[in-house]
């Protein structure tokens, strides 16, 4: 085989490999444009049925409970309008907290309970030192008591 032919085969193989990778990435891109559904969409039946999907929202305050077996965690995920109960067995990310964002992947059971196989924490784009966070929390509390 001549050097030119070898080079050509190498180029064609390279282009094919890269093209395949790009095709895979694009298909992943298209499938995950809607990375998660909101609890309202799920309640309205707009979420896909018959396959796993993700729900994104906030972990409802005071909803996290552990079953007696010590591994099953139950909580509700909410977008303040609707709330979906979730059951999950497995490790939770450090940033998973009540009142914070989370994305859960799994399937919706017939009982309306979402059986999650994966729980991800979604954090926001705010970065500040703990003192500033405390000050904000304090201000929120004061505002809430004033409102009452």
């Amino acid at each position: 085989m001549k050097a030119r032919q070898k080079r050509l085969i190498l180029v064609v193989a390279g282009v094919a490999l890269l093209g395949g990778a790009v095709a895979l990435v694009l298909s992943a891109f298209q499938q995950n444009l809607v990375f998660f559904h909101t609890p309202t969409e799920v309640a309205e039946g707009k979420a896909p049925t018959g396959r796993t999907f993700r729900i994104g929202g906030m972990v409802e305050d005071g909803s996290i409970k552990r079953d007696a077996d010590g591994i099953t965690v139950r909580f509700a995920i909410t977008d303040t309008a609707k709330s979906i109960p979730v059951a999950y067995k497995g490790p939770l990310p450090d940033l998973f907290k009540e009142g914070k964002g989370a994305v859960v992947q799994g399937a919706l059971g017939a009982d309306g309970q979402f059986a999650a196989t994966e729980v991800l924490a979604k954090h926001d784009e705010n970065y500040m030192p703990p003192e500033a966070q405390d000050a904000i929390d304090q201000a929120h509390k004061t505002a809430a008591t004033v409102a009452q």
Binding site: L18, L33, F35, F36, G56, L95, L120, H123, Y127, E131
Partner: protein, 253 residues
């Protein structure tokens, strides 16, 4: 007279004038990069406070965000030079595009790598296929494609043209990456710093990040100037001025 003045603007677009200019400028940008990196690291590790939510791991941001910005900027500059090369048929512009690509790919990989190492302790996953991460991965493949394409084609003029087409078509991906967090549901959070709103970061954190971003600019300029120089020599090897450069470099090299 007038035309002479007009053309002086494009004086350094001539390879034989740009070559020595690049050699003189590069060390200054490299020095700026070193100083800015040291200042940025000092601010990032010793001045910027711990994050209230994420703790210390957020300090990855000081390379993650500048690297992600650079990976997008460099692709746009590559597309710009490619367009200039196609429209005005200038020799230097394709060489600039080709000198930019490896550094862009490096920053793109760094953005993905640091993102993975940041995602695991915060989100709970090294990788998810959300729109932001997926389009950034596509950018890496576009860089690889550009590098492979321009190096695989032997005839430089055809290589330049093929590269230019890929650079220009691929540029569509850059706004997709940038706005993906706004247009679609993503796990990736929105931008902390943008032109349209006040930054949502404590000032010292923001300062550290911006200094690191400047450092990556300075680094990119230095390393690209260093990379384009031998590229110019090779492309222009039949000219008299390259002969002169080689004669003078003979003793040193």
């Amino acid at each position: 007279m007038e035309s002479g003045q007009r053309f002086s603007l494009f004086r350094y677009a001539a390879p034989h004038l740009f070559y020595p200019l690049a050699g003189r400028l590069a060390p200054w940008f490299a020095a700026a990069a070193v100083i800015l990196t040291l200042v940025g690291l000092y601010l990032g590790f010793f001045v910027a406070p711990t994050d209230a939510v994420q703790g210390e791991v957020y300090r990855v941001i000081f390379i993650h965000v500048p690297a992600a910005w650079m990976s997008m900027f460099i692709y746009l500059i590559m597309a710009f030079w490619s367009a200039v090369g196609v429209v005005f048929n200038t020799r230097l512009s394709a060489m600039m595009a080709q000198a930019l690509a490896p550094t862009g790919a490096m920053f793109c990989f760094v953005a993905l790598w640091t993102g993975a190492l940041w995602g695991r302790p915060t989100w709970g996953a090294y990788w998810v296929w959300d729109a932001r991460l997926t389009s950034q991965l596509l950018l890496l493949f576009l860089y690889f494609g550009f590098i492979a394409l321009t190096r695989a084609i032997e005839d430089p003029r055809r290589a330049d043209r093929a590269g230019a087409i890929l650079a220009l078509v691929g540029a569509v991906n850059v706004p997709i990456i940038y706005f993906s967090v706004k247009w679609w549901n993503t796990l990736h959070q929105g931008a902390s710093v943008s032109l349209t709103k006040a930054p949502s970061m404590a000032t010292t954190m923001l300062m550290a990040m911006l200094v690191m971003a400047l450092a990556s600019w300075a680094y990119t300029i230095a390393v690209v100037l260093w990379r384009v120089r031998p590229l110019i020599l090779e492309r222009e090897r039949h000219t008299e001025w390259v002969g002169d450069v080689l004669e003078t470099a003979e003793g040193r090299a």
